[in-house]
């Protein structure tokens, strides 16, 4: 539905994005992930038609953004990073105005505004001045204005930024709901958000795509060694160490925690076939009782840190 082709963006002499290409399919929820200053907002602004890229093209259903900007903009709903709306307007008044600017025919405006207010849960505050709204409600009104006119694509820049935990959960649920029927692009630096909401993730760092795929893909691709947690009871620590080290693939064994009679070890080994049965057998043979055995999967957070940090070290060299 959206295709980004070799997009670069310069701010004066500073290059903010380097040769970015990706596609977003209809109905997909794409997460743009990256540390602050990675180029997320720049990418988002290009996607919303705020400004064009320095090089490259963005297409919506095959139509070049730069050719008919106004028509394309009417198909995109945008929630900026810092939601700022006209403070001296009432919520309903403001949304009706947005409907007018978005060229909704006069007859449909009222119905559209009411529908979006209901959808985003701002009916209760519709008569209030925008300057009197809490941050959470402001975000909801921001979402409502993005939704007016039923755009095909919804672009949200850091939608949960600056909200309290309860509001974050509420907004996230709302986003999940919205993502069910719409193409949604979401930028964030908060990791759980991505794994919870997005079907596909694109990790940006210093203006480049460093990884992309489903959260599970990223997980698999990055795991260059297996990590297995083993919790045992009884026996002597030295003998366990000995028993496991005799497996050729095992690289290291690390004691992580020990309580009265149980101890937890982290076993690192080279990738390959699943060695859990082998480990279980050896543990029992060495005279321990095996309490727990599980593969430790890298969380998105680990992947993210790993990518971003490796990038930085290579850059430093």
């Amino acid at each position: 539905m959206i295709s980004v082709e070799n997009v670069s963006k310069d701010y004066g002499r500073q290059r903010a994005l380097y040769n970015i290409s990706f596609e977003v399919k209809r109905g997909e929820v794409l997460g743009l992930l990256g540390p602050n200053g990675a180029g997320k907002t720049t990418m988002i602004r290009i996607l919303t038609g705020f400004f064009p890229p320095t090089e490259g093209k963005v297409r919506l259903d095959g139509k070049d953004f730069s050719k008919s900007p106004a028509r394309i903009k009417s198909r995109i709903g945008y929630l900026p990073e810092t939601v700022s709306l006209y403070p001296d307007f009432r919520v309903d008044e403001f949304l009706r105005w947005v409907a007018e600017v978005k060229r909704i025919p006069r007859k449909r405006r009222k119905a559209d505004v009411e529908e979006k207010m209901a959808c985003c849960g701002v009916e209760a505050v519709q008569r209030r001045l925008i300057s009197h709204l809490s941050k959470g409600y402001l975000q909801r009104v921001g979402l409502a204005q993005a939704l007016i006119g039923d755009p095909d694509v919804l672009v949200l820049d850091e939608p949960t930024n600056g909200l309290d935990p309860k509001q974050i959960i509420e907004i996230r649920e709302l986003i999940q709901e919205l993502g069910r029927e719409r193409t949604l692009i979401l930028s964030t630096h908060i990791l759980p958000e991505v794994s919870r909401v997005c079907e596909r993730v694109l990790i940006l760092n210093q203006g480049r795509i460093v990884a992309q795929g489903t959260p599970a893909d990223l997980d698999r691709g990055l795991r260059d060694r297996q990590e297995i947690l083993v919790r045992v009871a009884g026996g002597a620590a030295a003998s366990l160490d000995h028993a496991l080290r005799s497996i050729p693939e095992v690289e290291s064994i690390e004691k992580q925690a020990s309580e009265d009679l149980t101890a937890t070890y982290l076993v690192r080994m080279l990738p390959g076939e699943d060695l859990r049965p082998e480990i279980a057998r050896r543990v029992v043979e060495a005279g321990f009782s095996l309490l727990e055995l599980k593969t430790k999967s890298l969380s998105l957070e680990d992947i993210f840190l790993k990518l971003v940090l490796t990038e930085e070290t290579t850059e430093a060299v």
Partner: protein
């Protein structure tokens, strides 16, 4: 153009919900009231003296000419102080608060945005000016004969002068996100333009005639006498268009490739 119309409505509404708008209106009404009163009193004094002894050329002074002509001329000077307050918010405030980002992503062309902004400033100027026309009724009450040429010419001149100042103000408002800087730049430029007539006196004649032609008040002065010169009208129209397109360029500059 629907976009410009929507912007106009929004700006107009928010203008009168802000203290700046109300204070500007209030200040303008008070100042214009004082001016008018002074000229009415001045005319009274003049006619008293004329009754005692006849001046030469006293017969050329008419009521409308003396009161309304001078009044409208002075309103023009008041614009120097008024316009920076009207125009400073226009684009600067939208930039500062971040709402301009929304506008840029709504289906509006840059031309529509600038046009909407400019038209809303013009509407505010009209609205400020409208009440002062009630003074015409006062003049009419004082003496039946009103010289409509002076009033029409003066009003047209005032609106043209204001419109060209607003265009300049809009331009400075597009350059910064700080209202104070926007109004400061506007005020300084307007002052320089105002003083241009005197400043060029110190220059060699080749320069003084060329630069002197840029002084807005030199073009405004004839309007309150009831003289509408096409040169003057086109001077104002040109400066409106000039600053309008400069503003448009500034707004479009985010699209520049580098």
């Amino acid at each position: 153009m629907t976009g410009s119309w929507a912007l106009l409505k929004k700006d107009f509404a928010s203008y009168f919900r802000s203290w700046v708008g109300v204070l500007t209106l209030f200040g303008f009404l008070i100042m214009s009231g004082i001016f008018f009163t002074l000229f009415v009193l001045g005319y009274g004094q003049l006619s008293l003296e004329a009754a005692r002894q006849a001046y030469e050329g006293i017969g050329d002074i008419t009521l409308t000419g003396f009161i309304m002509g001078a009044f409208l001329l002075n309103l023009g000077v008041l614009l120097l102080f008024l316009v920076p307050f009207l125009s400073m918010r226009s684009l600067a405030e939208e930039k500062r608060s971040g709402t301009l980002e929304l506008l840029y992503t709504y289906p509006l062309t840059d031309f529509e945005i600038v046009l909407g902004k400019y038209l809303s400033l013009l509407t505010q100027l009209f609205l400020l000016f409208l009440p002062t026309l009630t003074y015409v009724l006062v003049v009419k009450f004082l003496k039946a004969k009103v010289d409509w040429g002076i009033i029409a010419g003066g009003s047209l001149g005032f609106i043209l002068l204001g419109a060209s100042f607003l265009s300049l103000g809009l331009f400075f408002s597009s350059l910064t996100e700080n209202q104070i800087i926007a109004s400061g730049l506007t005020f300084t430029s307007l002052m320089l333009l105002w003083m241009l007539e005197w400043l060029v006196g110190f220059l060699p004649p080749v320069w003084s005639t060329r630069l002197g032609g840029l002084a807005p008040f030199a073009h405004f002065r004839d309007f309150p006498l009831g003289i509408v010169d096409l040169t003057d009208v086109s001077y104002f129209l040109c400066s409106i268009v000039f600053f309008f397109f400069l503003t448009l360029r500034v707004v479009e500059s985010r699209n520049w490739k580098a």
